[in-house]
């Protein structure tokens, strides 16, 4: 009865200014009431969870649209003013959702499960942090020698200052203009510690590469195009496990991101959206998310990371600073002076 139907799977290969979804999948019966779910999360990663959700809620058909974070933000702002839009949004670019909520684009919802969330994963009962994913350093195990593996930002810095030619042009990170998540990580780094300026300088020294999208970066590390990648979402690495890609959680501090879930004010099917939210927060949903790697266990034995080094990115109005025009302009200018013009725009 429950069937999974992938209607279309369009990968955005050409990074044109995106105004549309990158991929669409439909879960659930044809006859059920549709619910438009927009997410920056890969359909493959979140698919099993949604599949279980529609199996339990046969009256809901989830139309899953996968978006790039910046495009999703722009589209949601337009939707908010136009009075239309998705029924639920799940984005890793949390600061953009905070901005949407701050612009009164969200509908409030309370349930015992949302109220159980800690304060830094909940804002105004309109925005909820669903997942728990680390920003990590990954490296190619075959090509990076054991003593070169950076266990903290300081070690990465030292590695880049050593002027070792094999790392020239082969250290990657998100392009902060192309990826909302990359920008959020870089911004959080800049607030968190003074190492950020030195890191940029180091990136500049080894002529590091700024590129788009988690998949491309992990693919690149796996294929040997890049040796080390900085600030990659650990969740994607664990799902797309490669034998030759290994993960390091920086010991000085590790950023933890909680993908934010929001129900737009104009949602047509708010009931389904709140049920999906409660499902994602329930122990059952949480177990599925953990299987997909979207929720990291707090297990020092496994991660070797002391709790004091965990830095959750809080979901609150402070993230609005990241979106300030002047601040963004300055920040990107500083970034660009290190990485040069956007690479993915060049032919």
């Amino acid at each position: 009865m429950i069937r999974r139907m992938i209607a279309a799977l369009l990968l955005c290969l050409f990074s044109l200014p995106a105004h549309a979804e990158e991929a669409v999948a439909v879960f659930g019966a044809e006859s059920a009431r549709p619910m438009l779910f927009r997410s920056t999360t890969d359909i493959r990663v979140l698919g099993p969870t949604i599949e279980e959700f529609v199996r339990l809620n046969s009256d809901i058909r989830v139309i899953y649209e996968q978006w790039g974070s910046n495009a999703l933000y722009a589209e949601s702002l337009k939707d908010c003013e136009a009075g239309r839009g998705a029924d639920a949004i799940l984005s890793s670019a949390v600061h953009q959702l905070v901005s949407l909520v701050n612009s009164a684009c969200a509908a409030p919802y309370r349930s015992p499960l949302t109220e159980a969330l800690p304060n830094d994963r909940r804002w105004r009962d309109e925005l909820w942090g669903i997942t728990r994913e680390a920003a990590v350093i990954i490296y190619n195990t075959a090509l990076v020698s054991e003593e070169d593996v950076p266990h903290s930002r300081f070690e990465l810095l030292d590695l880049m200052r050593r002027e070792n030619p094999i790392y020239e042009d082969r250290i990657a990170t998100y392009d902060i203009e192309a990826s909302g998540l990359g920008y959020l990580f870089a911004f959080s780094d800049s607030i968190e510690a003074s190492t950020f300026g030195a890191l940029l300088e180091g990136f500049s020294r080894v002529n590091a590469v700024a590129t788009c999208c988690s998949n491309e970066i992990i693919e690149g590390v796996s294929s040997g195009r890049y040796l080390i990648a900085y600030n990659v979402l650990g969740s994607y690495v664990s799902t797309q496990y490669r034998d030759n890609v290994s993960v390091v959680m920086p010991e000085d501090y590790t950023l933890f991101l909680s993908r934010a879930y929001m129900i737009p004010r104009n949602a047509q099917n708010q009931g389904a959206a709140t049920r999906l939210l409660d499902f994602l927060l329930s122990s059952q949903g949480n177990a599925l998310l953990r299987e997909s790697g979207l929720v990291m266990r707090r297990d020092p034995e496994e991660t070797f990371l002391p709790e004091s080094s965990e830095r959750a990115i809080p979901i609150n109005p402070m993230l609005l600073v990241a979106l300030d025009q002047h601040r963004r302009k300055r920040f990107i200018a500083q970034w660009r002076s290190t990485f040069g013009a956007p690479q993915f725009l060049s032919p």
Binding site: S103, A104, R124, P317, M318, H326
Partner: protein, 465 residues
């Protein structure tokens, strides 16, 4: 059985009236406290959060620097940390140049209507259809490549303010509710305590024997003691009247028994008598006896009258000269002893006392008749005033009764008088009753020209009421 029910119902209504009064007072007080504490709470919340807004705005203004001829904001996280102290409020900010053009922030944030470029301006404005509070601060730049004023506007919705205001109001209300309850308990205790004497009196009255006319305990609060005094006075009067009535009856029985027995015995003797002379003699004696019995009756009735009136008739201003005149003008002396010379000695000024006229006339008549009967001619009746005391007196030329009779005279039981069929003692006892009824005094002794009986009463000086 209905009366006690009515009285308890009235008691309840009295205390319920007081309770209602206290409750409505508390209610009004509570409403005033609620309004005041809400106003206070709102003001306190407004001041507290306005400072946060101002702090954030100043923080942002401080971060503006002129770079390459343009004012650039390095939006500080600390400003938003300040604003995040109101955790659930949406925020908006805008930095505008000297012409009002948006430099950074949200374009929907408006500048205040009053455009003073001095100190911070606070104002209320909607933020996406929600009420919000804004502040605008200005920073002036006078650089080589940029000169002008940059405005920083920061706004925040009102959720935290309202929560704080309500919290303060609620705390104040809880405090005043507790105080109100304490007051209510205290008020109940006080009311019960205040009403206790009334209940005690009511119980005492209910428990009292209807024939018990002894005064009630005066150990009560001042307000109630007036009532108790009035009641005691009333009961005293009732007691006096009842006892005088009893005395009258016993006196009458006592005094009449002997003369009536004598008259009966004499009349029986007359019936049995055969000798005409003896019979006539006996008839004469019988006549005398019956006349003196009549006099005795008259006096007993007048004494009863005096006692009754002195208790029931309200005292009025009376001119003692009128009394003396009245006594002389009734011309009793012409009947009693026509040979006696009578003189009236009164002055031109009126001598006013507060008393009952009829009682006074009776008293004066008795004094006068006593003198006629026992004294020697001439008999003088006079009125005089010495300072605060007014006197009406009767004087005869005799030396008065012997000292041992004088001692006993005026007592209620005058056995000798009664048995002899005369009524001298009774007459003086009437005078004495009148004297005591109107706070006066009866004195007997040597006067200017013989034996004088004086009734002294407090004179009513000044304006009569």
């Amino acid at each position: 059985m209905n009366e006690p029910l009515i009285s308890t119902a009235r008691q309840r209504s009295l205390s319920s009236r007081v309770v209602t009064g206290v409750l409505s007072l508390l209610l009004i007080g509570g409403i005033i406290v609620a309004i005041a504490s809400f106003a206070y709470g709102r003001q306190a919340a407004r001041q507290a959060y306005d400072r946060l807004l101002l702090g954030a705005a100043n923080d942002i203004a401080e971060s503006i620097a002129v770079i390459g001829g343009e004012p650039l904001t390095d939006l500080p996280v600390s400003a938003f940390q300040l604003l995040a102290l109101a955790p659930d409020d949406r925020v908006a900010y805008a930095v505008r140049g000297s012409r009002g053009q948006l430099l950074t922030g949200q374009d929907h944030v408006r500048l205040p209507k009053s455009s003073t470029t001095g100190g911070p301006v606070f104002y209320d404005a909607p933020m996406q259809d929600e009420a919000a509070r804004f502040v605008t601060v200005y920073r002036r730049f006078a650089e080589r490549d940029f000169s002008g004023t940059v405005s920083v506007t920061v706004g925040q919705t009102l959720a935290a303010r309202n929560v704080m205001a309500l919290g303060l109001t609620r705390d104040a209300l809880i405090a005043s509710l507790v105080a109100g309850l304490a007051l209510m308990v205290l008020a109940t205790l006080v009311i019960r305590n205040a009403m206790a004497p009334l209940n005690k009196i009511a119980d005492e009255l209910l428990d009292r024997d209807p024939y018990d006319l002894t005064p009630m305990d005066r150990n009560v609060p001042a307000e109630v003691s007036v009532m108790i005094d009035a009641m005691n006075r009333f009961m005293l009067r009732l007691d006096r009247q009842v006892s005088s009535m009893r005395h009258l009856i016993s006196d009458t029985a006592h005094q009449l028994r002997t003369p009536v027995a004598a008259i009966r015995a004499q009349s029986e003797l007359i019936v049995e008598a055969t000798d005409e002379d003896v019979r006539n003699q006996m008839v004469t004696r019988l006549t005398r006896r019956s006349r003196s019995l009549g006099e005795l009756l008259d006096q007993m009735l007048s004494r009863a009258l005096v006692i009754h009136r002195s208790d029931s008739a309200p005292p009025l201003p009376v001119d003692l000269r009128d009394i003396a005149l009245n006594v002389v003008e009734t011309k009793d002396h012409e009947l009693l002893s026509p040979e006696t010379e009578v003189e009236l000695r009164i002055g031109p000024d009126e001598v006013i006392v507060l008393a009952d006229e009829i009682s006074l006339v009776e008293a004066a008549k008795n004094m006068f008749n006593n003198a006629l009967r026992h004294g020697q001619s001439p008999v003088v009746i006079g009125v005089s005033q010495h300072g605060g005391s007014a006197e009406i007196w009767v004087e005869d030329a005799g030396s008065g009764p012997p000292a041992d009779i004088l001692d006993r005279i005026g007592q209620r039981f005058e056995r000798s008088a009664a048995s002899s069929g005369r009524s001298a003692g009774l007459g003086l006892s009437i005078v004495r009753s009148v004297a005591s009824a109107f706070a006066g005094e009866l004195t007997m002794g040597r006067g200017e020209d013989g034996f004088r009986v004086t009734l002294t009463l407090p004179a009513q000086t000044g304006e009569p009421q």
